[in-house]
């Protein structure tokens, strides 16, 4: 890595950490959400510097999308919508400070104290593929089992949460045409 790229890497690292800190320091849900997005985007660009193009761009894509969706949830699920007003981004300060500090000490200590192995061989030609195989290769069976279970859970949760499904709209035989419109306030459909 040249000096310029190295400098850029450290710049991104600082932005990622600073934006991460900002998530807890700002007083608005919107700013916290997009500070987190900025942090992730910086990480995504850092991955691009590692020549992990696909993973880098996908990280940016997924995280920005998630944060945008978070803006939907923050209106849907926060009672009386304090999300739209200035508010503190932290709660249970004492215990979370202890947890965060402890977690940091454990992880940083581990990173410093673990004897890291020396590099054997050179980097693979296709880094994305070899990373995928390293992560997923021997665990493919688990992945194959877990994903339908996860998917079924999602669908089941949606079915349980949905106030009215297709039988409400199309009738018991699913034959009503045109389907009944959205439910009115007085209970008529």
């Amino acid at each position: 890595m040249s000096v310029v790229l190295g400098g850029f890497f450290w710049f991104l690292a600082v932005v990622a950490v600073a934006a991460g800190i900002a998530v807890f320091r700002v007083d608005s849900m919107a700013r916290a959400t997009y500070a987190l997005a900025l942090s992730f985007v910086s990480v995504g660009v850092m991955l691009l510097l590692f020549n992990l193009e696909y993973i880098g761009v996908i990280t940016i894509l997924m995280m920005v999308m998630e944060m945008a969706i978070m803006a939907v949830f923050m209106i849907m699920f926060m009672g009386m919508n304090p999300a739209l007003m200035p508010m503190s981004m932290v709660h249970s300060k004492r215990s979370s400070m202890i947890l965060a500090g402890g977690g940091f000490v454990v992880l940083a200590g581990g990173a410093l104290l673990v004897p890291w192995p020396a590099r054997r061989g050179g980097p693979a030609a296709d880094l994305t593929q070899s990373l995928g195989e390293a992560i997923m290769g021997s665990k493919m069976l688990v992945m194959l089992t877990v994903s339908p279970v996860l998917f079924a859970t999602l669908v089941a949760a949606l079915v349980l949460a949905s106030p009215r499904g297709r039988y409400d709209r199309f009738g018991d035989d699913l034959r009503i045409s045109p389907p009944r419109g959205p439910e009115q306030k007085d209970g008529r459909s």
Partner: protein
């Protein structure tokens, strides 16, 4: 173009930006002409209308709102133009491209997801109810167009066996992808119109909510957002040409001329769509998008995959 595309040097981004500006101006002038013709005014007044509008907005005082979230507001308003430029970076002009990324198609996709965040921020920042409603309408719309758009992008990628835009263009030498993946092409075009908050997909700027995201925008802020829309539409048209319409291939003229001609032709249709369709409500459209359009695109991808496997 037998050799795919080559990256241009340092001057490339500047040329790309100027070119994108020109194409976006074409779109704005075209819209002006459509409006002028409907009002039985001269074509010339329509062509000139974006110039006067720019002059008017540059002179207009910038509106400030009590308790506005200026940071997110400014980012959202000015971001659309930036994102459109970042999209144009991977769109080849003939045999030149600013950056021929190995994951160019995913890059384009990532940039159009940026629009989700930016339009919402532009709606949020103004601290105005109607503006925020507009921002949320866009997110609702994003949920219905994004998945079909992603799968529409997948079809040419599967056929070319590469995420590199240059490879996708090269793979169309015999037959343009639009011929054997028309569903993906149409869905992609609808997606471009949708992420440009344009025509039938512009409820976020709806008149029924006083202009939605635009409601508190004036002066240079309004100019940036409106210009960003045209730029997004232009970059999307250029990408449609590269992905489905054979890029710069064509007889009698150099590739860059063909790319431009095709892009302007696609853009003509995009701009005209605004006058042909009413604005669609996201909550009504979502069912059609998920129940009809998404399976249709998936079938299209399946068809393309079978063709690729059988080849």
């Amino acid at each position: 173009m037998p050799d795919g595309v080559v990256q241009v040097g340092l001057l490339g981004p500047v040329v790309a930006a100027v070119l994108l500006g020109c194409v976006a101006f074409f779109a704005a002038a075209l819209d002006g002409v459509f409006v002028a013709r409907m009002g039985r005014r001269s074509v010339r007044s329509g062509v000139a209308s974006p110039v006067w509008e720019v002059a008017r907005l540059l002179r207009q005082r910038r509106r400030s709102v009590v308790a506005a979230d200026s940071l997110l507001w400014r980012v959202g308003v000015s971001g659309l133009l930036v994102v459109a430029l970042l999209k144009a970076v991977v769109v080849p002009l003939g045999s030149w491209v600013v950056a021929d990324l190995s994951v160019g198609v995913v890059w384009f996709n990532a940039m159009d997801v940026m629009v989700w965040a930016l339009v919402w921020m532009a709606g949020w920042g103004a601290n105005s109810a109607f503006s925020l409603v507009g921002g949320y309408r866009f997110l609702g719309q994003a949920l219905l167009y994004e998945l079909p758009l992603m799968f529409a992008l997948t079809a040419p990628v599967v056929a070319a066996g590469s995420l590199r835009v240059g490879d996708v263009v090269t793979a169309q030498e015999g037959l343009w992808f639009v011929v054997w993946m028309p569903v993906a092409f149409l869905v992609f075009c609808a997606g471009v119109i949708a992420f440009s908050v344009w025509g039938p997909f512009s409820p976020a700027l709806g008149r029924d909510i006083g202009g939605g995201v635009l409601v508190e925008l004036s002066g240079v802020d309004r100019l940036l957002l409106l210009a960003g829309r045209y730029a997004l539409l232009s970059a999307g048209a250029g990408f449609a040409v590269a992905l489905f319409l054979g890029g710069g291939s064509g007889p009698f003229a150099p590739p860059w001329v063909w790319t431009l001609v095709k892009t302007l032709a696609v853009l003509f249709v995009f701009v005209g769509v605004r006058r042909m369709f009413a604005v669609l409500r996201p909550d009504r459209l979502v069912e059609a998008a998920w129940v009809v359009v998404l399976p249709a695109v998936l079938l299209q991808v399946l068809f393309v995959s079978l063709v690729v496997v059988g080849r």
